[in-house]
Structures are given as structure tokens and as C-alpha cells.
Amino acid sequence: MSDLLQLTDTTIRFGGLTAVDRLNFTIPSGTLFGLIGPNGAGKTTAFNMITGVYQPTSGDIEFKGRSVLGRKPFQIAGLGIARTFQNIRLFGALSALENVIVGGFLRHKTTLASALLYLPSAKRELATFVKTAMDILDTMNLADQAHTRAQDLPYGRQRRLEIARALATNPELLLLDEPAAGMNPAETEDLMALIRRLRDEFHQTILLIEHDMRVVMGICESIVVLDHGAKIAEGPPEQIRNDPRVIEAYLGESH
């Protein structure tokens, strides 16, 4: 198994605050990797550096052996990294179907000019995009509401639609930012089954951020724990569960 993503001493400072401090980890292809830690530990910041929203102050991020530094978010998406957002950022007024079509945008082959003239190629392209998008919606059990506006979908479905949209980019690495946030236990259970399926059936490499430790324990092969921007533990779930520093970090929070 080859390494898909590698963070080397990745550090970012905002003013005097070091949000992520010399973070190191490696995600092998085909794994379900968890990134956990208490609120404000720097998980989402790490995501934002991987996807090019922020540029690290120092250190490196390599995807398939190439550095992603200095690239814009859309270029990084083009390399094969897709993400969801912690606070859902769907295209609210567009239908679920259209959301997923935009997710597939990277695969477009027609030019803007041919779209403006509505040449047969542009027409055909949209038709194939619709078909692919419907397949993905089907996988995510959203097909029945394909024509509903994203903002009118129930909360849990919005979360799933975000994953569907990210999957439509056909990513090699899928970043999920607290996909279970705000869900009830039953919904969370479903979602976790779905994520597991993505890995098992589609061999999707996934990096999952979760605030709630229990959620990730069940499904991730490997977990990195962040606290105050620094990595405090890494390893398989059993090891993490018993790591005194992890317990300290989480207990410290609940105190």
C-alpha cells in the first residue's frame, strides 16, 4: 500500500497563535483514517491546509508524492482531494441533483464556448453528468429527492448530500469534517455504516474528523489525536482508547 497523503512538520500560525504545530502523519491508500481531538484542537485548520484554503507557515504537505503547497483549492480538488464542511456548505438554492453535478464539474470536457452555443457536445455532456449524479445519489439513498432544493432537505440528508457531492469529484482522498455533527444516534449509526461501505466497496481513502471519540473508534483503522494544535497520540483505536494523554485531553475538556 502506498502513501497517499503525508504531512511533514506542518505548522500554521495566525498572529501569535499557533493553531497547528509541527503536525506529522501519513495516510496510506485505502484506509479510513481518523483525526480527532477536543474543540479547537486544530482539526479543521489541518483540513483547510490540506485543501489549500490556508497556506501552512512552515512544513510540507504531499499528496501522491507531490507537494500541494501554493496551490489554490480548486487545483487541489483537481489533484483528487475532496472535502465536506463542518458547517454544511451546500449550494442551497440548487437541487440535490445539481449539487452533485457541480461535484462532477472537474470531469467536464466541453469548452465554455460550446456551452454558450449549446452544441451537441454540451448537451450530451450534461446528460452524462445527470446520469452519473443520479447513480451517486442512489448510492447515498438520496435519489428520491434529487429535484428538491438542497436547503429544503432535512438536516441529515444535507450532510449526506455533501458527501455525495464530494464523491462526485471522484476523489482519491475524501476529507469528511465532522459528518455526524448534529445527528441523532440512529442517524449517526447509518452514516457510519455508509462510510464503512465507501471504504469496503469503493476502496475510498477517507480522512475523517470527529469531535466525538466514540464515533470514530468503531470504524477507523488508524487515528491521530490532536490537542492544542499538536499531535499527542497516533495508532489503532485500542491503543488510543487507553492512551493516558488522550484521556487527559478529553477529560481536561469536560472538567
Partner: protein, 303 residues
């Protein structure tokens, strides 16, 4: 040499007017994140009411210092009421809508006031307050520099207003509310700040400052009153607010002064037909190069 000093003084006078107007923009933006397009029109209405009041109290025929103050406070009062009304009728219903909706409404209010003014105000021929209060146009000579007493009053009043504003913002309960709301509007509401009151107060204070600026400009600088009286000063003052860092009160004062100087420099360099373009060029440049302005702090969008 004296030519340049004279120009410098003119620049600062114009700048003081812009500064007073810019304060209104910056305060409203600070609290509501709204560009109050109608602010320039409030200023225009203030100028017209200065004229009406000066006629009602017979300031032109029988000048007295108290009449000038009556004009000043009258204009401030009218503008304050107008500002509060605009906020109540047009902006408050949209508090929870997207910001663009409020912006369009603001443009609508600005257009409405301008076009109502065309119908209602005597604009043909354009009257001027200054020509009617000539007794206040006396001047003194310092070396070879002529100082207009009336024009010096602009400084005095403008600086007085700014000190008053500083006191209001820093020392009063309302001022504390304003600072809280501009820091985080929703949190301020949750913490028991009566945000509706604070917003109304912000509009009242900002509009009153516009009224003061209108009275000073129309009385001592003597521009003829037309319905687009507030259009360019409005945009220039907004530019000043952006230049200083929008939402930042000292920044607005600084930006206003700089705008006045920039404009007068262009006129002094005999490019006066481009005087109005300067404001827009500065505006576009500041927005592109340093949107947070001179004294503002940049904010990062949270993902």
C-alpha cells in the same frame, strides 16, 4: 508658498466635512455591516433644511450668532429624525435578510430621497445658503494668508463633534452597546444589549453628524443646493471611511481629512475636472490593495 498653505487649509476644511460624513458611514457599517447608501441624501436634506431654517428665523436679514447655532442644531435634529425613520421603515424589516437585500434597499432609499427632493424642494434656480448669510463671511489676515472666520468655524465645530462622539462611544452606556454590537451583533443581543435601541441610536448620531456637516458646508463653503448635493460627498465620504478602515471611528476622521487633501491637491495641480474621479480611483485602489483600510484590521472568513 502662501498658495500652498491656503490650499492646505481648504483641503482640511473640505476634509472636515468628509470626516463628519464618514463617521456616519463607518458607525452604521460597524454595527450593521450595511453600506448606508442613503447617508448622502440625509446630508442633502440637512442642507435644504439649513436653508429653510435660515429663512424662517430671518438669518440673512438680521444675522446673529444664536441663529447660526439654531441652524446647526435644527439641521442635526431633522437629519437625526430622518435617519431614525429610514432605519425603522426600510432597514429594520431586513435585519435578518441577506446583506445584499439590505444593500439594494439602501440604494432604493437613496434614490427615493433624491427623487422626492426633486419634487418637493425648491431647486430652480439652485439656492445657496452662503449667499444669504454674508455677514458671517468676514475674514482675517495673517501675514499673506487669508483666514475666513466662517470657514474656521468648520474646524471648531467638526473637532467639537468628534470629541463629543468619542465621549459618547467610550463613556456612555449606549456607546458601550454600540461597541459590543459592532464586535458581535448576535452575541451583544444575547448578552442583553437592546440592539434595536443601539441601532436606532447609531443612526440618530450618524445622521446628526451628517446634518452638522450639511449645515457647515452649505453655510460656510457655499455650494448651491441641488438634489444631487449629497451624491458625490456621500461617495467621497464613504471612500474616506473605507480608506481609514470601515467600522473604525478614528479611521473615518483620518480618512476624511486625507480625502479632502487629496482632492484639493488635484485641484491645485490644475486638474480640477478630474477632482471627482480621484475619489473613485482612491476607492477602487484601497478596496483592491488594502480593503481593511489604514487603521482597520483584516478579518479571515471562518470556514
Amino acid at each position: 508658498m502662501s498658495y500652498y498653505i491656503q490650499q492646505l487649509i481648504v483641503g482640511l476644511q473640505v476634509g472636515a466635512i468628509y470626516a463628519l460624513l464618514a463617521l456616519g458611514y463607518t458607525m452604521v457599517y460597524g454595527v450593521l455591516r450595511l453600506i448606508n447608501f442613503a447617508h448622502g441624501e440625509v446630508y442633502m436634506v440637512g442642507a435644504f433644511f439649513t436653508l429653510f431654517i435660515s429663512r424662517w428665523i430671518h438669518a440673512p436679514e438680521d444675522p446673529a450668532l444664536w441663529k447660526l447655532f439654531t441652524m446647526l442644531f435644527g439641521a442635526m435634529m431633522v437629519c437625526a429624525i430622518l435617519g431614525a425613520t429610514i432605519e425603522q421603515v426600510a432597514y429594520r424589516p431586513l435585519r435578518k435578510s441577506p446583506r445584499i437585500a439590505s444593500l439594494i434597499t439602501a440604494i432604493g432609499v437613496s434614490l427615493l430621497l433624491q427623487n422626492l427632493a426633486i419634487l418637493v424642494f425648491p431647486i430652480n434656480p439652485p439656492p445657496a445658503v452662503a449667499t444669504e448669510v454674508i455677514p458671517f463671511q468676514r475674514s482675517i489676515q495673517v501675514g499673506d494668508i487669508t483666514l475666513d472666520i466662517g470657514k474656521m468655524a468648520i474646524f471648531a465645530v467638526a473637532i467639537g463633534m468628534m470629541i463629543l462622539l468619542w465621549w459618547i462611544v467610550m463613556k456612555t452606556k449606549m456607546g458601550r452597546g454600540m461597541r459590543a454590537a459592532s464586535h458581535d451583533f448576535d452575541a451583544a443581543a444575547l448578552m442583553g444589549v437592546d440592539v434595536n435601541k443601539v441601532v436606532r441610536f447609531t443612526f440618530i448620531v450618524g445622521s446628526a453628524l451628517a446634518g452638522a456637516a450639511a449645515m457647515l458646508n452649505s453655510t460656510f463653503l457655499g455650494t448651491p443646493l441641488r438634489v444631487d448635493y449629497g451624491l458625490l460627498p456621500g461617495v467621497k465620504a464613504f471612500t474616506a471611511a473605507v480608506l481609514g478602515g470601515i467600522g473604525n471611528i478614528p479611521g473615518a476622521a483620518l480618512g476624511g481629512m486625507l480625502m479632502g487633501l487629496a482632492e484639493t491637491s488635484v485641484s491645485a495641480a490644475h486638474l480640477s475636472s478630474y477632482r471627482d474621479a480621484v475619489a473613485f480611483i482612491i476607492l477602487v485602489l484601497v478596496l483592491l490593495l488594502r480593503p481593511s483600510g489604514l487603521l482597520g484590521s483584516s478579518k479571515v472568513e471562518k470556514v
